[in-house]
């Protein structure tokens, strides 16, 4: 194990020299966690995530992660990381697809309990029938769990977003779980070139005393403290307490915008945003859209691109502004339900201009020409 020096997040993210490496997405997870100063990581296998948590296990064996074990199923793993987070340590886990569904009851608990858990969701399709292939449909289910959701396009994004996720998650005014999503296989199992900081630096440790709720350790006040209680039904005003609690989770999401803007350089990234037709999407659909945009622009078509990096909080104001006056907004997606198109339609001034297409799912690759066809069809 390398001797690591604690450096500020600002140093690690913005100042440290970045060196070139040829890595798969799973290896990018490992390199992020190596520098994340994680206390407890808990794993459970599921394709295409397993490799990531194998590698985190290697980090444990090497000494970069202090505690690690394989839990019994995803619901239990998400429960165990919740326990560890309540007891005041930094935790990490990963899952995807059916694992996400198995664990589901815990996700709103994470947010409701103000737990700064970072979880990598390496997405895949959901049964039935069984599939192990990439598909982003699980994100549709997670939209309203209260967690922050970042969507990586590349292994580079996955690495950077994971590291930054810990820092945003642990801000006192946020203190919410962050899901970092990457499309299974297309990111996890693809080797590509990254630029990352050396592993001789690591993030500062988590300080549970900055949390907006007390740690469960019998060292924090108040001693009489239950996480997280029934809001007693015998109390006539309990409904207001529960409602106010939920609003506070939503408020914490809102507060994360400022931090995400700073660390991610904005919730969206644009290229040729003045074009007549905008491709707006997230994840690897952005990569495919980049190819499509290049083809179209060579033909002289006015096509631009908006990459959405944060799904929760959603860049509503940014998209409303960007979509205003466009001939069309095309939203390619790697799922059947088109959740992203729905999200965008609900926010822009003229939802009729938003086209939820093309879509592929069940593991299909989205060829750039499908997007090109859609652009041509719209412009005809």
């Amino acid at each position: 194990m390398l001797q690591q020096q604690v450096r500020s997040p600002e140093y690690l993210f913005f100042e440290a020299e970045k060196k070139k490496q040829f890595l798969s997405g799973s290896e990018a997870v490992r390199e992020a966690i190596r520098k994340a100063n994680v206390d407890v990581a808990i794993s459970y296998p599921i394709t295409p995530q397993s490799e990531s948590m194998h590698l985190v296990g290697d980090l444990f064996a090497e000494g970069y992660v202090k505690e690690y074990f394989r839990g019994e199923n995803e619901f239990a793993v998400m429960s165990s990381v919740a326990g560890a987070a309540m007891a005041g340590v930094r935790v990490f886990t990963a899952t995807g697809g059916p694992g996400t569904m198995r664990a589901f009851e815990m996700f709103p608990v994470w947010a409701g309990s103000r737990l700064p858990i970072v979880c990598a969701f390496l997405t895949r399709g959901i049964n039935s029938p069984l599939t192990i292939q990439p598909d982003t449909i699980e994100m549709a289910f997670l939209l309203e769990t209260g967690m922050l959701m970042l969507h990586a396009e590349t292994a580079q994004d996955l690495h950077d977003m994971l590291l930054k996720a810990f820092i945003v998650a642990e801000k006192t005014d946020v203190h919410l779980p962050v899901g970092v999503f990457a499309d299974g296989f297309f990111v996890t199992h693809t080797k590509e070139i990254l630029h990352i900081a050396d592993a001789d630096s690591k993030l500062p440790p988590y300080d549970p005393h900055c949390a907006p709720v007390p740690a469960m350790d019998m060292e924090s006040v108040p001693v009489r403290q239950m996480r997280d209680p029934f809001v007693m039904k015998s109390n006539f005003i309990s409904y207001a307490a529960h409602a106010s609690w939920q609003q506070e989770i939503e408020a914490a999401q809102e507060r994360s915008r400022k931090h995400l803007e700073r660390y991610l350089g904005g919730l969206v990234e644009t290229e040729h945003e003045d074009a007549e037709v905008l491709l707006i999407t997230s994840g690897t659909a952005v990569s495919q859209s980049r190819e499509a945009m290049a083809i179209c622009r060579k033909e002289g078509l006015s096509v631009g691109l908006v990459k959405i990096k944060s799904i929760r909080p959603f860049p509503s104001d940014e998209l409303r502004r960007l979509a205003a006056g466009k001939y069309a907004v095309i939203v390619p997606e790697l799922n059947r339900v088109g959740w992203l198109a729905k999200e965008i339609k609900a926010r822009v001034d003229d939802p009729r201009r938003v086209i939820g297409a093309p879509r592929v799912f069940g593991g299909m690759t989205m060829p750039a020409h499908l997007i090109v066809d859609e652009i041509r069809r719209v412009l005809q």
Partner: protein, 221 residues
């Protein structure tokens, strides 16, 4: 190199199509080229159809996933063609006009008239290499077939460089750092047992590369 190389490797599980892609990708990376590598995303089973994909270019590469429109197709086993052991049918599906095909076979395959017509229409350059034979002959194991295929590819493309290929192999087989899936790792151990030393293995593999290149022949359809 000005054009983007989009390489589809089709073979049977256990032949090392994924490993070949990794070595090729790593070599391209070492030559300072832009590159992405990914396998066909499925369960890994021996002798089942297996595919991997390598994209190499000088400009940044964005597109991901299976390569549907390859500029170069490598067929690691004749059964991919003759017995349809492939998820991509016919084997040249999607090949760019003027594209290249490289097939592991000691003799030209008996392709159907329709296949020959289509290949001719595509103006496809079809090369053969007795990769399995070269592997057995030079290194004493058919497990070097994938390296022989890379040798033939090198003969056609001249890139990535031989130096880069060598150092990619050292990195792939020399250390314990490489991340391979469970069954691929098991095969690695089998390969390693054949060679007392990794350096000896690399040396043999370089010889395989050279010999494979020499043994290639082209067939016009």
């Amino acid at each position: 190199m000005t054009e983007k190389m989009s390489i589809r490797m089709s073979g049977l599980g256990g032949q090392g199509v994924v490993t070949a892609a990794h070595i090729l990708g790593m070599a391209a990376y070492k030559d300072d080229l832009q590159v992405t590598v990914n396998p066909f995303f499925g369960a890994e089973k021996r002798l089942a159809p297996a595919e991997s994909y390598v994209r190499i270019a000088q400009e940044p590469i964005y597109e991901r996933g299976e390569i549907l429109y390859p500029s170069l197709i490598m067929v690691f086993h004749p059964h991919v063609i003759t017995m349809g052991k492939s998820y991509t049918m016919p084997f040249f599906d999607g090949l760019e006009a003027g594209g290249t095909i490289l097939i592991n076979s000691a003799s030209a395959l008996d392709l159907s008239e329709e296949e020959r017509d289509n290949l001719a229409k595509l103006d496809a350059q079809v090369h053969y290499v007795p990769a399995s034979e070269v592997a057995m002959e030079v290194s004493g194991t058919h497990l070097s077939t994938n390296i022989a295929m890379l040798g033939a590819l090198y003969r056609i493309q001249q890139r990535p460089s031989l130096d880069a290929l060598e150092s990619a192999m050292v990195e792939r087989f020399g250390g314990s750092k490489f991340v391979a899936s469970g069954s691929t790792a098991a095969l690695d151990d089998a390969v390693k047992e054949k060679f007392a030393k990794v350096s000896q293995m690399i040396e043999k593999n370089l010889e395989v590369i050279e010999k494979a290149g020499e043994s290639m022949f082209q067939q016009t359809h």
